[in-house]
Symmetry: C2
Subunit: 196 residues, 2 copies
């Protein structure tokens, strides 16, 4: 059985990128895992997926009874994909307050008080000794910059900066320049402008 | 403010040893942390503390409003020390099903589906690059052997065995022999026998 990896409803960049990258890590560790999304991709995330040539996860509007799922970037039922109560939560990777998900069995739950789920996912690659390819490095870097507003958010920690800097170095990306372009691509103003 | 590290009510060996060892790790990382216990030390744990010459944590029967606390070996209010609802949960390190603790802020929550909390605590020493002294190694090994019934419990994983074997090697301890003595010391029969 394939385990879905999914972020919250109305997914932001961290929810999409952390889901893709964590599914990739699980696959490399030998698991059958697939990133899905619970809603529409926003303009910022679309820009990132285009830039790093990664396909958007499949849209799944509701889980079926018994589906196995890994939650990323949230741990509250009210934020989760429809059908969550009938599904089996196998893992949670997050960076928010502890919410109301309960499980019948012990699971891997990794929540850290850092600026993005992508920061935690990057640590998990490292702890498992798995190399991060350029595509995944691009998504992880983008998600950290998105959630921390290029390190300006009060939730941003030393770990977020260190990890983002390392990913940027791997990619040869200028964080400030890339971050600005990313936010510009995602801004409402930009979305309201005609595309052609 | 000192952060208390505490296991569940009616503490078993894992709750006591994981609390002591995790408080020790936090101290070495520069935090003000102190292991406490929510109840009586059992005979098995007493044997272990004697053997490795470690003092029992202070007994605290109820937390005060605003106390900062790290929960080990449980993550359910019903199992927690009295006063938990008025205290501030700062971290959770556990290996059980996900329970009903909610927090207002993001915290470090590390739950793994392994045989003992001590296994997770040992990983945290390693991830933080902190050496495990002989006393802590003794407590951690004992807690793994206690919770996994010397690797015989269905909850025992490869990680528990690997980590216990490494700790035993550091200590020069024969796992089967030591484990048997430990369980013998904790058995009810032994407790009912006159001590002299
Ligand atoms: Mn999010
Ligand atoms: Mn996030
Ligand atoms: Mn216990
Ligand atoms: Mn335990």
């Amino acid at each position: 059985m394939t385990t879905y990896v999914v972020g919250h409803q109305n997914p932001d960049t961290d929810s999409i990128c952390a889901a893709i990258a964590y599914a990739n890590l699980k696959q490399q560790l030998g698991a059958k895992a697939e990133a899905i999304r619970a809603g529409k991709i926003n303009a910022e995330t679309e820009f990132i997926l285009d830039k790093f040539e990664v396909q958007a996860p499949k849209l799944v509007t509701e889980l079926a009874k018994g589906d196995e799922v890994i939650l990323v970037d949230h741990n509250e039922k009210s934020q989760a994909i429809a059908g969550i109560k009938e599904a089996e939560v196998k893992e949670i990777i997050d960076h928010h307050r502890i919410g109301d998900i309960e499980t019948g069995n012990p699971i891997y739950f990794r929540n850290e008080p850092v600026g993005s789920t992508a920061t935690v996912v990057t640590k998990l690659y490292q702890e498992n000794g798995v190399e991060i390819n350029e595509q995944m490095a691009g998504l992880l870097l983008s998600a950290i910059l998105s959630d921390t507003v290029i390190f300006r958010s009060p939730t941003c920690t030393k770990a977020d900066k260190e990890i983002a800097n390392r990913l940027a170095k791997q990619l040869g990306v200028d964080i400030q320049k890339y971050g600005k372009n990313m936010f510009k691509a995602g801004s409402v103003v930009n979305q309201l402008e005609p595309k052609e």
